[in-house]
Amino acid sequence: MPEQFIWGIEVFLNGLMAGVLYALVALGFVLIYKASGIFNYAQGVMALFAALTLVGIMEGQVPFSHLINATFGTEIHHFGWHVPAFAAILLTMVVMIALAWVVNTLIFKHLVNQEPIILFMATIGLAYFLEGFGDMMWGSDIKTLNVGLPQGINPVIDEVTYNIFDYGFFIDNLDIVATVIAAALVFTLIVFAQYTKQGRAMRAVADDHQAALSVGISLNFIWVMVWSLAGFVALVAGIMWGTKSGVQFSLSLIALKALPVLMLGGFTSIPGAIVGGLLIGVGEKLFEFAIGAPYLGGATEIWFAYVLALIFLVFRPQGLFGEKIIERV
């Protein structure tokens, strides 16, 4: 078998794994968009904020220590304890729920019935605020996150593929774990949306705010719940990406990676987010491998997803699985 082809398969598999991570972020977008019509640009920053908080709690960092030190001339940095990963994740989740409540009460309650584009810009503002807030609270240095997820090359796949192709595939354990977790998460979310009382209420709100209100569904509760769910997805995404490449500012840019995924899959579809994520993950890795690196000078991953989504949208404006756009005067 030609070498190029085998490498291609390896790239394909890695693209698939990367795609799962994109899908994970995109999922957070879809959740909020479906329930409240808000396109939440701050999702990536929420992932960063969640990861920062998680590391901060695990390491026993003093929040705002930098600010306190600068104002009072003190020298405090750590409480001196270490919180086990599981407890820290629970605590972070509490913080994310509190954040969801604050965001809903202070911002989006006042913006009900505004145009989608105004809401979108408000989330950009939120993203900026949260970015500054997170850095101020926990410091802006690069942190390592380790909650005990396995990392490094998977020896089994390496060995099996070596026996078949004479060439061992490099597949990261973390990616495999991420794939499993993402799949579990999607399954849980679909079950939640389809079969629980709150899930049904959520879908009702997504369909029609006023009708939902008139049958006695509390919009506020649903919105806080949805933002908390998005916070939870952000936390999971933050843990995955944080473990992979360290907790740092660039983590918030995964939101930008998820946007074309959404455009491709359609903003309103959970399966769309998954399929879109996989398509883009595989597409950009294969493009970089086959055309980008040899002919175009590399680093095409930055824009490939966007251009793909752009070309795609020209032919199908609502995305792969999106609801058909009907406009009336």
Partner: protein
Amino acid sequence: MFYREAGDFKTSYVDDSQTFPIKFDRYRYYVVLLIAFAIVPFVINDYWVNAVFLPFLIYSIAAIGLNILVGYCGQVSLGTGGFMAVGAYAVYKLMTGFPEVSIFFHVIAAGGITAIVCVLFGLPSLRIKGFYLAVATLAAQFFLVWLFNRVPWFYNYSASGQISAPEREIFGVAVTGAETLPWAAYLFCLVFCAASAILARNLTRGMAGRKWMAIRDMDIAAEIIGVDPLRAKLSAFAISGFFVGLSGALFFAVYLGAVEVGEAFGINKSFLVLFMVIIGGLGSIFGSFAGAAFLVLLPVLLKNVLVGTLGWPTDLAAHLEFMIVGGLIVVFLIAEPHGLAQLWRVAKEKLRLWPFPH
């Protein structure tokens, strides 16, 4: 008392349709122009030009350009940074390729080139709308920055991958390069800024502007009453691109002098200009100036207060700046979605009734 139409008789159509129909407004405008052209150049120094005036003027042009697209035509663009980069690289290639032509024409040509690129990336707007389009314009942002980074022809095969502006003169006075005097750079930008504002203001008052606004308010309805969406949208992209290209060219050639594309024209630049438009006021030329002034002055002020007076470390001040800018965006969207320009309008209405409000 002094701010009203009463007693100001219009005797011709020209009088009737002038930009500032109220006498007080008109004189205020002349005074502002007079101060900007005749007094400021004599009193400014290096710090003021580089920290306040140049960024203000240049961002104002960019904000006017983006405001035409977002505020008047309703097509949200997140590719401003990329289009500014087009302007910068176009003016660089022109300056190095045709050194005998005046830089004045180079800057205008750079605007024209950016307009063409902008129209190309505006083509999808005919099919997709709202934030689908906003995300699509991000393609322009990332692709253009990547292109200027990776294709050596654009930066004349320089080893560092940077571009730096060669020295150019107008009427024997250097306006780019290390020898530039503060007032020369200021005046050069001011000319472009004032011309852009007048041009944009009159475009938006005329047929083109009304077509854009019709498209913004509802494109299907606009199409039914006879506005061609293709021409209206693409003309908005072209004109917006022209102004953004101008500002990109000036930003590189006059303000920074040397540019690394990812740093100077990254996605943050797109957001910054968009914020200026939102805070200043969507659909208002005055708002573009107000927004640019606000977001240029805010960091300078914060830096002086926090770092200078309180003695905070600069990184803390930077974080606080992020928080304040983000918070302000949200506050503005909730309290006053039409931005500073609306406050100005309200103030003028009050002034019209003053001192007898009943």
